[in-house]
């Protein structure tokens, strides 16, 4: 099961498409309902960030295996304006759009691994992993 499938994010409804595909893959890997909800919520946050701030990007899913654990890796890539201050966006309550500011720190808490690369003007790439327990 080492295929990769991507959903392009251009419209608000693409977020729903990404979420549904992610949930299906998570179900196939064997995640329980609580983890499925966590994964779906994390995808929703990542995809919404692309839609709100970059306007165009994609979310990719991959079933991964490491030693004797299995998991789901989600990569959100965009060519948007990038993030100015990385430490700032990882703080709870920071938002430039009047939202709750819980998106990225929330995703970090929802998932097991969280990796963000962003450079101003170069776009953003966020990779998160959830392991099957």
């Amino acid at each position: 099961m080492d295929f990769q499938s991507c959903v392009n994010i251009k419209k608000e409804w693409d977020i729903v498409g990404a979420r549904q595909l992610g949930r299906d893959i998570a179900k196939k890997i064997g995640f329980g309902t609580v983890d499925q909800a966590r994964i779906a919520t994390a995808i929703s946050e990542l995809a919404r960030n692309i839609y709100l701030y970059a306007g165009d990007g994609k979310v990719c899913f991959e079933a991964i295996e490491d030693m004797n654990k299995r998991g789901l890796s989600i990569i959100a890539i965009d060519d948007g304006p990038g993030i100015e201050e990385l430490s700032q966006v990882m703080e709870d309550g920071f938002s430039t759009s009047g939202g709750l500011g819980a998106g990225l720190p929330g995703v970090k808490r929802l998932m097991d691994e969280f990796d963000i690369v962003s450079e101003q003007g170069q776009g953003t790439e966020i990779k998160v992993v959830k392991w099957l327990r």
């Binding site: 919520t41 929703s44 946050e45 929330g106």
Partner: protein, 289 residues
Amino acid sequence: MDTKLKDIVLENSNDIVRMWLEEVQSKKNQDYTSTISNELFDSTNREFVNVIFTSIEKQGLTSELDDFSERLINLGWPLSYLTDGMQVFRRVTIDFILTQSEKVDSEYLSKVMKKVDDWVDPVINRLVNEYSGSWEHIVSLQRVALQELSAPLIPVMENITVMPLIGTIDTERAKLIMENLLDGVIKHNAEVVLIDITGVPVVDTMVAHHIIQAAEAVRLIGSTCILVGIRPEIAQTIVNLGIDLTKFPTKSSLRKGFQSALELTNRTVVETDSNDNNIEKLIDTLDRE
């Protein structure tokens, strides 16, 4: 030259129709239309070819074409049947004209092709337009229907209303929810509003943000908002996300929310004595006498 080509086609319409029917019939076996009964397929084919010939004869689009396409749309025939049919017609007609002509050079060939295109293309365009127009119409009707369903407000009891939310919440819908909620609270004079999110698949920060804003707006106009239908997995994700929902009461189910709504409006549910009890009491009193 133009009229000559037209005459060739019209005079030999029987041959062209026969060739066309054969081609279309052979297509039927291999694809989508295989579920359609033979009689219906035959009669539709004949009608279709008649429509094509009338439009060639009259040099343009006809009302017959409109009627025909409208009926096929209503019957749910695939658009590809019509476009395939027109393409087959183009091929058959060009082949036929070329076999009928003595000298064929490239100039003549391009003229024939242009002439046949002039017959076929407007008909294809019209058919595609009719079909896409009908689809757009259906989509817009469904959009309106969905919008009507998207934020219903039900006054279940004096001073208590319920808004059951089902499905994904996007920005447009969030706006509608807020408007309907506030309008409804004023209109039904509600003291307590229950927002039921049992049917919302994912509660992310945006959905939570909109719900918090709606609840805050309800508070501003003097009513109380209770969020009900929080499933266990949703509760966990809300905690993980670090969303603060302490500003208004929340309950796991609509039933519990309704009970606290009754308490807030100083009411309780009282079970009335059943008829059996009354009869027993009656018998008791009779016994004593």
